[in-house]
Protein backbone atom coordinates (compact mmCIF):
# COMPACT_ATOMS: atom_id res chain seq x y z
CA UNK A 1 0.00 0.00 0.00
CA UNK A 2 2.90 2.30 -0.71
CA UNK A 3 0.77 4.64 -2.78
CA UNK A 4 -1.61 5.42 0.06
CA UNK A 5 1.07 6.06 2.63
CA UNK A 6 0.54 9.42 4.27
CA UNK A 7 2.99 12.13 3.31
CA UNK A 8 5.75 13.00 5.67
CA UNK A 9 6.05 16.74 6.45
CA UNK A 10 9.41 16.85 4.66
CA UNK A 11 8.00 15.57 1.41
CA UNK A 12 5.28 18.24 1.45
CA UNK A 13 7.89 20.94 1.81
CA UNK A 14 9.93 19.41 -0.95
CA UNK A 15 7.03 19.34 -3.39
CA UNK A 16 6.26 22.99 -2.68
CA UNK A 17 9.86 23.83 -3.38
CA UNK A 18 9.73 21.81 -6.59
CA UNK A 19 6.60 23.67 -7.65
CA UNK A 20 8.34 26.99 -7.00
CA UNK A 21 11.35 25.86 -8.99
CA UNK A 22 9.11 24.77 -11.84
CA UNK A 23 7.36 28.17 -11.81
CA UNK A 24 10.70 29.92 -11.81
CA UNK A 25 11.87 27.87 -14.78
CA UNK A 26 8.61 28.57 -16.64
CA UNK A 27 8.95 32.32 -16.21
CA UNK A 28 12.56 32.17 -17.38
CA UNK A 29 11.36 30.47 -20.56
CA UNK A 30 8.63 33.08 -20.99
CA UNK A 31 11.22 35.83 -20.64
CA UNK A 32 13.33 34.36 -23.41
CA UNK A 33 11.60 31.98 -25.76
CA UNK A 34 13.98 33.11 -28.48
CA UNK A 35 15.88 30.35 -30.23
CA UNK A 36 18.73 30.51 -32.66
CA UNK A 37 18.29 28.69 -35.96
CA UNK A 38 20.84 26.27 -34.52
CA UNK A 39 18.10 24.76 -32.34
CA UNK A 40 16.04 23.79 -35.39
CA UNK A 41 18.85 21.90 -37.13
CA UNK A 42 19.48 18.18 -37.15
CA UNK A 43 22.22 16.77 -34.91
CA UNK A 44 24.55 16.20 -37.88
CA UNK A 45 24.44 19.84 -38.97
CA UNK A 46 24.82 20.99 -35.36
CA UNK A 47 27.92 18.80 -35.01
CA UNK A 48 29.31 20.29 -38.22
CA UNK A 49 28.93 23.81 -36.86
CA UNK A 50 30.46 22.95 -33.49
CA UNK A 51 33.58 21.31 -34.93
CA UNK A 52 35.89 24.03 -36.26
CA UNK A 53 37.71 21.50 -38.41
CA UNK A 54 34.50 20.32 -40.07
CA UNK A 55 32.73 23.69 -40.30
CA UNK A 56 33.21 24.90 -43.90
CA UNK A 57 32.58 28.47 -42.73
CA UNK A 58 36.05 28.32 -41.21
CA UNK A 59 37.49 28.26 -44.73
CA UNK A 60 36.05 31.76 -45.20
CA UNK A 61 37.46 32.83 -41.85
CA UNK A 62 40.90 31.66 -43.03
CA UNK A 63 40.45 33.69 -46.23
CA UNK A 64 39.62 36.69 -44.05
CA UNK A 65 42.63 36.18 -41.80
CA UNK A 66 44.94 36.20 -44.83
CA UNK A 67 43.28 39.38 -46.16
CA UNK A 68 43.47 41.03 -42.74
CA UNK A 69 47.25 40.80 -42.86
CA UNK A 70 47.69 41.56 -46.58
CA UNK A 71 48.54 45.13 -47.63
CA UNK A 72 45.99 46.63 -50.01
CA UNK A 73 45.59 49.80 -52.04
CA UNK A 74 47.78 52.84 -52.60
CA UNK A 75 48.44 53.23 -48.88
CA UNK A 76 50.19 49.88 -48.76
CA UNK A 77 48.56 49.25 -45.40
CA UNK A 78 46.84 46.09 -44.27
CA UNK A 79 43.94 45.99 -41.82
CA UNK A 80 46.47 44.83 -39.25
CA UNK A 81 48.68 47.92 -39.81
CA UNK A 82 46.10 50.04 -37.97
CA UNK A 83 43.92 47.57 -36.08
CA UNK A 84 46.65 45.16 -34.99
CA UNK A 85 45.68 41.69 -33.90
CA UNK A 86 42.07 41.10 -34.88
CA UNK A 87 41.54 38.57 -32.10
CA UNK A 88 41.88 41.48 -29.65
CA UNK A 89 40.85 44.59 -31.60
CA UNK A 90 37.81 43.10 -33.37
CA UNK A 91 36.38 41.34 -30.34
CA UNK A 92 32.70 42.27 -30.01
CA UNK A 93 32.72 44.53 -33.07
CA UNK A 94 30.42 42.44 -35.25
CA UNK A 95 27.99 42.13 -32.32
CA UNK A 96 27.25 45.87 -32.45
CA UNK A 97 26.70 46.38 -36.17
CA UNK A 98 24.92 47.96 -38.06
CA UNK A 99 26.08 51.20 -36.43
CA UNK A 100 25.46 54.87 -37.18
CA UNK A 101 27.93 56.43 -39.61
CA UNK A 102 27.95 60.20 -39.12
CA UNK A 103 29.48 60.99 -42.54
CA UNK A 104 26.56 59.22 -44.24
CA UNK A 105 23.83 60.27 -41.79
CA UNK A 106 22.75 56.63 -41.94
CA UNK A 107 23.64 53.28 -40.42
CA UNK A 108 26.22 51.05 -42.12
CA UNK A 109 26.52 47.30 -41.83
CA UNK A 110 29.80 45.51 -41.21
CA UNK A 111 30.43 44.87 -44.92
CA UNK A 112 29.82 48.59 -45.58
CA UNK A 113 32.16 49.53 -42.73
CA UNK A 114 34.94 47.35 -44.19
CA UNK A 115 34.54 49.05 -47.56
CA UNK A 116 34.54 52.56 -46.01
CA UNK A 117 37.83 51.65 -44.37
CA UNK A 118 39.24 50.24 -47.59
CA UNK A 119 38.29 53.26 -49.68
CA UNK A 120 39.07 55.93 -47.09
CA UNK A 121 42.11 54.61 -45.25
CA UNK A 122 43.66 51.92 -47.42
CA UNK A 123 42.82 53.75 -50.67
CA UNK A 124 41.84 50.42 -52.16
CA UNK A 125 38.80 49.63 -54.29
CA UNK A 126 35.71 48.51 -52.36
CA UNK A 127 35.20 44.76 -52.24
CA UNK A 128 32.14 43.67 -54.23
CA UNK A 129 29.38 42.48 -51.90
CA UNK A 130 29.25 38.68 -51.52
CA UNK A 131 32.67 38.28 -53.17
CA UNK A 132 34.90 35.68 -51.59
CA UNK A 133 37.08 38.49 -50.21
CA UNK A 134 34.21 40.52 -48.71
CA UNK A 135 32.62 37.46 -47.11
CA UNK A 136 36.01 36.26 -45.87
CA UNK A 137 36.83 39.50 -44.05
CA UNK A 138 33.33 39.79 -42.56
CA UNK A 139 33.51 36.16 -41.42
CA UNK A 140 36.91 36.63 -39.81
CA UNK A 141 35.78 39.77 -38.00
CA UNK A 142 32.48 38.12 -37.02
CA UNK A 143 34.35 35.12 -35.65
CA UNK A 144 36.07 37.36 -33.10
CA UNK A 145 32.66 37.99 -31.50
CA UNK A 146 31.75 34.32 -31.28
CA UNK A 147 30.05 33.54 -27.98
CA UNK A 148 29.52 37.21 -27.10
CA UNK A 149 26.05 38.69 -26.79
CA UNK A 150 24.57 40.68 -29.64
CA UNK A 151 24.75 44.26 -28.35
CA UNK A 152 23.18 46.79 -30.75
CA UNK A 153 24.37 50.35 -30.12
CA UNK A 154 22.10 52.47 -27.94
CA UNK A 155 22.11 55.40 -30.33
CA UNK A 156 19.00 57.63 -30.66
CA UNK A 157 20.07 58.56 -34.19
CA UNK A 158 19.31 54.94 -35.18
CA UNK A 159 15.67 55.12 -34.02
CA UNK A 160 14.10 56.16 -37.37
CA UNK A 161 16.06 53.41 -39.18
CA UNK A 162 15.00 50.90 -36.57
CA UNK A 163 11.37 51.92 -37.15
CA UNK A 164 11.89 51.55 -40.90
CA UNK A 165 13.28 48.06 -40.37
CA UNK A 166 10.36 47.09 -38.18
CA UNK A 167 7.93 48.38 -40.79
CA UNK A 168 9.69 46.33 -43.48
CA UNK A 169 9.57 43.25 -41.27
CA UNK A 170 5.80 43.49 -40.91
CA UNK A 171 5.04 44.71 -44.43
CA UNK A 172 3.42 42.24 -46.81
CA UNK A 173 5.27 41.90 -50.07
CA UNK A 174 5.50 39.92 -53.29
CA UNK A 175 2.97 37.91 -55.25
CA UNK A 176 2.45 35.62 -52.27
CA UNK A 177 1.78 38.74 -50.18
CA UNK A 178 3.62 37.60 -47.05
CA UNK A 179 5.50 39.65 -44.51
CA UNK A 180 8.58 38.39 -42.67
CA UNK A 181 6.57 38.42 -39.44
CA UNK A 182 3.88 36.08 -40.77
CA UNK A 183 6.36 33.23 -41.05
CA UNK A 184 9.04 34.09 -38.52
CA UNK A 185 6.83 35.40 -35.68
CA UNK A 186 3.41 33.83 -36.20
CA UNK A 187 4.53 30.48 -37.59
CA UNK A 188 8.03 30.07 -36.20
CA UNK A 189 8.61 26.49 -35.14
CA UNK A 190 6.21 25.27 -37.82
CA UNK A 191 7.21 23.92 -41.20
CA UNK A 192 7.30 25.23 -44.73
CA UNK A 193 7.20 22.02 -46.72
CA UNK A 194 9.77 19.88 -44.94
CA UNK A 195 11.88 22.80 -43.70
CA UNK A 196 11.42 24.10 -40.16
CA UNK A 197 10.65 27.83 -39.93
CA UNK A 198 13.14 29.45 -37.54
CA UNK A 199 12.61 32.66 -35.60
CA UNK A 200 14.91 34.64 -37.90
CA UNK A 201 17.57 35.73 -35.45
CA UNK A 202 20.72 36.76 -37.33
CA UNK A 203 23.11 35.15 -34.84
CA UNK A 204 25.55 33.39 -37.15
CA UNK A 205 26.17 35.55 -40.23
CA UNK A 206 28.12 35.32 -42.43
CA UNK A 207 27.26 31.63 -42.32
CA UNK A 208 27.85 28.54 -44.41
CA UNK A 209 24.60 27.41 -45.92
CA UNK A 210 24.65 23.86 -47.26
CA UNK A 211 22.11 24.83 -49.92
CA UNK A 212 24.42 27.60 -51.18
CA UNK A 213 27.54 25.43 -50.85
CA UNK A 214 29.14 28.68 -49.78
CA UNK A 215 29.40 31.23 -47.01
CA UNK A 216 26.97 34.10 -47.45
CA UNK A 217 25.69 37.21 -45.75
CA UNK A 218 22.41 37.98 -44.03
CA UNK A 219 21.47 40.06 -47.05
CA UNK A 220 21.87 37.04 -49.31
CA UNK A 221 19.44 35.27 -46.97
CA UNK A 222 17.03 38.24 -47.20
CA UNK A 223 17.17 38.05 -50.98
CA UNK A 224 16.41 34.31 -50.83
CA UNK A 225 13.35 34.91 -48.67
CA UNK A 226 12.14 37.77 -50.84
CA UNK A 227 12.49 35.68 -53.99
CA UNK A 228 10.60 32.95 -52.13
CA UNK A 229 7.56 35.18 -51.65
CA UNK A 230 7.95 36.37 -55.28
CA UNK A 231 9.00 39.87 -54.31
CA UNK A 232 11.71 41.78 -56.12
CA UNK A 233 14.68 41.68 -53.73
CA UNK A 234 16.39 44.89 -52.68
CA UNK A 235 19.99 45.16 -53.78
CA UNK A 236 22.98 44.33 -51.57
CA UNK A 237 23.84 47.17 -49.24
CA UNK A 238 20.54 48.97 -49.87
CA UNK A 239 19.19 51.19 -47.06
CA UNK A 240 16.18 48.87 -46.74
CA UNK A 241 18.34 45.83 -46.02
CA UNK A 242 20.49 47.73 -43.54
CA UNK A 243 17.35 48.96 -41.73
CA UNK A 244 15.99 45.40 -41.65
CA UNK A 245 19.31 44.08 -40.36
CA UNK A 246 19.31 46.79 -37.69
CA UNK A 247 15.83 45.78 -36.55
CA UNK A 248 16.66 42.06 -36.49
CA UNK A 249 19.89 42.59 -34.53
CA UNK A 250 17.91 44.57 -31.96
CA UNK A 251 15.31 41.80 -31.86
CA UNK A 252 18.13 39.30 -31.18
CA UNK A 253 19.79 41.51 -28.57
CA UNK A 254 21.56 39.42 -25.93
CA UNK A 255 21.68 36.22 -27.99
CA UNK A 256 25.10 34.71 -28.60
CA UNK A 257 27.01 35.31 -31.85
CA UNK A 258 27.76 32.01 -33.64
CA UNK A 259 29.73 33.25 -36.66
CA UNK A 260 30.56 31.29 -38.75
CA UNK A 261 27.39 29.23 -38.29
CA UNK A 262 26.23 26.37 -40.50
CA UNK A 263 22.65 26.19 -41.70
CA UNK A 264 20.91 23.71 -43.99
Amino acid sequence: MARRRSRRPGSMWRSTLLACLALGAASAVAQDARKSGFAYMGPDTQAMQKDDLANPGMLSALDGEALWNAPAGASGKSCASCHGDATASMKGVAARYPAYEATHNAPVDLAGRINLCREGNQQAPALPRESREAIGLATYIGQQSRGLSIAPPDDPRLTPFHEQGKALYTQRMGQLNFSCAQCHDENAGGHLGAAPIPQAHPTGYPLYRLEWQATGSLQRRFRNCMAGVRAEPYSYGSPEFIALELYLMDRAKGMAVETPAVRP
Partner: protein, 107 residues
Protein backbone atom coordinates in the same frame (compact mmCIF):
# COMPACT_ATOMS: atom_id res chain seq x y z
CA UNK B 1 43.06 33.31 -53.67
CA UNK B 2 44.59 30.00 -52.90
CA UNK B 3 42.45 27.03 -51.98
CA UNK B 4 42.43 26.28 -48.28
CA UNK B 5 42.33 23.00 -46.45
CA UNK B 6 41.46 22.07 -42.89
CA UNK B 7 42.93 18.82 -41.61
CA UNK B 8 41.91 17.23 -38.34
CA UNK B 9 44.28 14.56 -37.15
CA UNK B 10 45.17 13.51 -33.59
CA UNK B 11 48.56 14.98 -32.57
CA UNK B 12 49.59 11.84 -30.76
CA UNK B 13 48.48 8.22 -30.75
CA UNK B 14 49.56 4.84 -29.43
CA UNK B 15 50.86 2.22 -31.83
CA UNK B 16 47.95 0.16 -33.14
CA UNK B 17 45.35 2.84 -32.35
CA UNK B 18 42.69 3.52 -34.94
CA UNK B 19 42.92 7.22 -35.76
CA UNK B 20 40.24 9.24 -37.52
CA UNK B 21 41.36 11.77 -40.09
CA UNK B 22 39.05 14.49 -41.38
CA UNK B 23 39.88 16.73 -44.31
CA UNK B 24 38.00 19.71 -45.69
CA UNK B 25 39.17 21.45 -48.85
CA UNK B 26 37.79 24.72 -50.18
CA UNK B 27 36.91 24.04 -53.79
CA UNK B 28 33.96 25.12 -55.98
CA UNK B 29 33.41 21.62 -57.51
CA UNK B 30 31.86 23.30 -60.55
CA UNK B 31 30.11 20.51 -62.44
CA UNK B 32 30.56 21.79 -65.99
CA UNK B 33 26.84 21.30 -66.60
CA UNK B 34 25.64 24.66 -65.29
CA UNK B 35 25.21 27.84 -67.30
CA UNK B 36 26.35 31.22 -66.05
CA UNK B 37 24.58 34.57 -66.23
CA UNK B 38 25.70 34.91 -69.90
CA UNK B 39 24.04 31.62 -70.89
CA UNK B 40 27.38 29.92 -71.55
CA UNK B 41 28.43 26.72 -69.80
CA UNK B 42 30.62 27.34 -66.78
CA UNK B 43 33.76 25.25 -67.37
CA UNK B 44 34.16 22.17 -65.25
CA UNK B 45 36.42 22.62 -62.26
CA UNK B 46 36.36 19.65 -59.93
CA UNK B 47 38.68 17.62 -57.76
CA UNK B 48 39.01 14.22 -59.42
CA UNK B 49 41.35 12.39 -57.11
CA UNK B 50 42.22 12.48 -53.45
CA UNK B 51 45.15 10.47 -52.10
CA UNK B 52 46.46 10.21 -48.56
CA UNK B 53 49.83 8.63 -47.93
CA UNK B 54 51.28 7.74 -44.54
CA UNK B 55 55.07 7.60 -44.56
CA UNK B 56 54.96 7.11 -48.32
CA UNK B 57 52.35 4.37 -48.34
CA UNK B 58 48.85 5.03 -49.68
CA UNK B 59 46.35 4.49 -46.88
CA UNK B 60 43.30 6.04 -48.50
CA UNK B 61 42.33 7.31 -51.92
CA UNK B 62 39.10 8.40 -53.54
CA UNK B 63 37.78 9.41 -56.94
CA UNK B 64 35.47 12.38 -56.95
CA UNK B 65 32.79 13.12 -59.53
CA UNK B 66 30.74 16.15 -60.62
CA UNK B 67 27.79 15.41 -58.31
CA UNK B 68 29.87 15.98 -55.20
CA UNK B 69 29.15 19.23 -53.32
CA UNK B 70 31.54 22.17 -53.11
CA UNK B 71 34.19 22.11 -50.39
CA UNK B 72 34.53 18.31 -50.25
CA UNK B 73 34.80 16.88 -46.73
CA UNK B 74 36.52 13.48 -46.63
CA UNK B 75 36.84 11.49 -43.44
CA UNK B 76 38.50 8.09 -43.00
CA UNK B 77 40.40 6.01 -40.47
CA UNK B 78 43.77 4.36 -40.45
CA UNK B 79 45.95 2.53 -37.93
CA UNK B 80 48.77 4.45 -36.26
CA UNK B 81 51.99 2.52 -36.97
CA UNK B 82 54.99 4.87 -36.68
CA UNK B 83 55.60 8.53 -36.09
CA UNK B 84 55.67 10.29 -39.39
CA UNK B 85 53.91 12.36 -41.95
CA UNK B 86 50.58 12.18 -43.65
CA UNK B 87 50.55 13.74 -47.10
CA UNK B 88 47.19 14.74 -48.53
CA UNK B 89 46.93 15.45 -52.25
CA UNK B 90 43.89 16.70 -54.12
CA UNK B 91 44.17 16.66 -57.93
CA UNK B 92 41.73 18.60 -60.11
CA UNK B 93 40.58 17.95 -63.67
CA UNK B 94 43.28 20.30 -65.01
CA UNK B 95 45.93 18.05 -63.48
CA UNK B 96 46.90 20.51 -60.77
CA UNK B 97 47.60 19.05 -57.37
CA UNK B 98 47.33 20.71 -54.01
CA UNK B 99 49.34 19.11 -51.24
CA UNK B 100 49.11 19.45 -47.46
CA UNK B 101 50.99 17.56 -44.81
CA UNK B 102 50.31 16.74 -41.19
CA UNK B 103 52.52 15.10 -38.60
CA UNK B 104 51.60 12.37 -36.15
CA UNK B 105 53.63 11.23 -33.15
CA UNK B 106 53.13 7.57 -32.29
CA UNK B 107 54.19 6.42 -28.86
Amino acid sequence: MAARALINIPKGAKRGDIVEIKTLLSHPMETGFRTGADGQLVPRDIIEKFVCTYNGEVVFSAELHPAIAANPFISFTTIAMDSGTFVFAWTDNHGETQVQTARIDVA
